[in-house]
Symmetry: C2
Subunit: 190 residues, 2 copies
């Protein structure tokens, strides 16, 4: 693996550390996955992305594609699977990249990491990252996908008004009170 997106492998490690806080293995293999998907997607299309785990992988997508959580082009649908898809944001057709268990036989460190067979303490991180670099796309598979219609397109928030209880602006389609005042606040007392 010489390049990940527009970075050299070494540059990518630095970019990951700057954004994510550490050279997490999930972002390294994740970067190779995103790079693979980008190399196969139809050039020039506007794509959205789905990430099938909340752990690590979303950051590889945010670093290497135009898709972020805040711009809505990346959706995290946490199925606990180490996989992602890129797809035409209008037609919903695209591809899914995932780690293929059948291809992991020669890569014990990657396998031990993915199946959590070693604690972080037991893990030899240098060896693990080296195996990821050497293995590159050889441990991945790719298949075409089509997104279910309900995941396509974006719905706006609709009209906004002040919540009659807390006074903050909220989408009135949420009801007579904002969701926080309806009991969904993550804070004590409100």
């Amino acid at each position: 693996m010489e390049h990940i997106g527009r970075y050299s492998f070494r540059e990518y490690l630095k970019v990951v550390e700057g954004f994510h806080g550490s050279q997490a293995p999930g972002l390294i293999l994740g970067g190779i996955m995103v790079d693979y998907a980008l190399s196969r997607i139809e050039p020039g299309i506007l794509f959205d992305s789905i990430c099938e785990t909340a752990a690590c992988l979303p950051d590889a997508i945010q670093l290497l594609t135009p898709c972020t959580i805040g711009n809505g082009w990346l959706k995290v649908i946490d199925l606990g699977l180490f996989a992602l898809s890129l797809y035409d944001k209008h037609r919903g057709e695209g591809l899914r990249v995932f780690v293929d268990p059948a291809k992991l036989r020669d890569w014990n460190e990657i396998s031990d990491w993915l199946y959590k067979l070693k604690s972080k303490k037991e893990q030899d991180k240098d060896r693990l990252l080296a195996q990821m670099e050497q293995a590159g796309r050889s441990v991945l598979s790719l298949r075409p996908i089509k997104i279910k219609p309900q995941y396509l397109g974006r719905t706006g928030k609709g009209a906004i008004a002040d919540c009659p209880q807390c006074g903050e602006p909220y989408p009135i389609r949420d009801g007579a009170l904002c969701l926080a005042c309806q009991g969904k606040s993550p804070y004590m007392g409100k």
Copy 2:
């Protein structure tokens, strides 16, 4: 507003455009909000973040703090409110910053944007961003918060095994099959 985090206001506009794809107003006001929160949080504590909307604001948090979606230090709890909190990741105590409707009276462009009174076409974006820069923290309020215990700490995925149906590694606590094979896949056909 001279600075946003470690950036000048102008530098921040560029950083936003590079990550988010455009100088979205929500990231500009969002940056001022994150900067305000950072200036008031107890120095040296390890903090996590909650973002109360999925639109735009999560990216300001990801650009200006160590918290990202992929590292788990940022949670998006979409209440439709333009607000965020930073809090001690162990004790759950921290502060919440929000746009305060009572303070918006002199800032018609910000108000029209927040309440969606103008279409994007009608919006004068230069004037809007200029008002945000001039208003700075004067349109914000801040209050102490304490996180409900269920939102504190992190739970690991637990043991991993291959799904007997699709063959991919999944957290066995999810059941006899992975969540995708249980019908939660966003793709047609699986």
